[in-house]
Amino acid sequence: MGVTCVSQMPVAEGKSVQQTVELLTRKLEMLGAEKQGTFCVDCETYHTASSTLGSQGQAGKLMYVMHNSEYPLSCFALFENGPCLIADTNFDVLMVKLKGFFQSAKASKIETRGTRYQYCDFLVKVGTVTMGPSARGISVEVEYGPCVVPSDCWSLLLEFLQSFLGSHTPGAPAVFGNRHDAVYGPADTVVQYMELFNKIRKQQQFVLVEEYEENPTSHRCVVGKEEEYINNLFR
């Protein structure tokens, strides 16, 4: 596992998600990259059941259970700012058994699917982020295999990103700043994806708020977003 940077590519003006993805892949192929199959990263959200919250009134925590096709036999479970657990695929079955403690926020499954490209030692994955049937954005992941220390090769990665993303090049991911000389691992990639998915979900936030007003019992609204709803109400 080399150092990986996950970022979002904004949809080009006047073009659909599909067309922007096609533009990107064409640019990559012109650079000399070779197609090498497909990839998929998906994420399901669980929130702690109200029965376990207790009388302290603490906000329920959100837990994300993610899969990455790069590690097909593994399952990642993580809290937003907390630890990340790497388990095998039986973990999904375990979550069903833990229904009393963790309730799945239905219709919150978000995933990104796309093609993998290999260019020299770089592995580039361009995927379409979908929530349900609709496409919500574009994710771009670049992995530089040989290096395992993020602070070492950020400038190198940046140069490569600029060569095909142009002005949409992202800044350094937050996970890079956290651990200076620690070895990069798959959990860090999954954390980056989680942050990306949350960002994309927030972009659709206004739509959700209006829906909540119409139908307060809709279980599309996640418990932790109530605060934001209140803020938006008293704009």
């Binding site: 596992m1 080399g2 000399g32 260019y119 020299c120 030692d121 770089f122 295999g145 040989p146 290096c147 395992v148 220390v149 070492d152 090769c153 400038s155 190198l156 140069e159 490569f160 060569s163 000389d181 070895v183």
Partner: protein, 340 residues
Amino acid sequence: MADVLSVGVNLEAFAQAISAIQALRSSVSRVFDCLKDGMRNKETLEGREKAFIAHFQDNLQSVNRDLNELERLSNLVGKPSENHPLHNSGLLSLDPVQDKTPLYSQLLQAYKWSNKLQYHAGLASGLLNQQSLKRSANQMGVSAKRRPKAQPTTLVLPPQLLLSACWPCPQASSLHGCNMAAVHPVLTRYVDDVISRIDRMFPEMSIHLSRPNGTSAMLLVTLGKVLKVIVVMRSLFIDRTIVKGYNENVYTEDGKLDIWSKSNYQVFQKVTDHATTALLHYQLPQMPDVVVRSFMTWLRSYIKLFQAPCQRCGKFLQDGLPPTWRDFRTLEAFHDTCRQ
């Protein structure tokens, strides 16, 4: 193809000889026809016999004439020249089916190619022999006669080193016959000492020495969190290096050091090539431990493999590779293509 046969062949006489053969054939068949027809119908028996014999004689004489004509012409035709220089391969060129079996043209190409190869190899060996390429100070020829053929050749260290390393040993006096340097226990200890001294020299580089295959040392050099190098040595001379990534597996399934498989990443394959160039570049037959030290110093400059931009073009990436070349004197980083 007609050129092969044209020397000494009279084509006109050849054509005439062919028609003479046809004439001879027809006169011979006339003879047999006459015999088959038998006697013609005439008034008297004598008349019939005479006519038959006269007819028969005429036919035989025409056969004789035609045969003489053919003999005369065949002497004029001449023999095809036999001194064409191609011998058997020239007979291959007579095969008319060129597109299905282009044997002759392929044969010609192979011959020209092998001639050119021989010529270039001769030039190259002349150039290479001008410079001495031996990395050790001693001659191999003297000890080769005394050694049995089955024993593998070992590099003999320079005599001063041998003496200084072997001074407590009673065999040291007979240096001339001491070609067992590599298996000498004192010398292996000397190699271990040199390596452990170098290990302590640089904080970010750790060297682990093992001898899984006999007496040649195998070093596993770990440079920070950037790369791992496997160095195979023959007494104190560096024989081979393989550079792999920090997260790559350097052991085989049995747990032994894997000294053959290449790295999965192109950047480390390039660095392996550069390291091989370096181990050939640093040569000092009289002081092999200085050579090892300079090689390790050069290797240490790779700690900034992913951080240093190229000194010539200023960029980090060229064809997807970072600057992998380190100058032998100044240790500056260059791309492989920006070297000179």
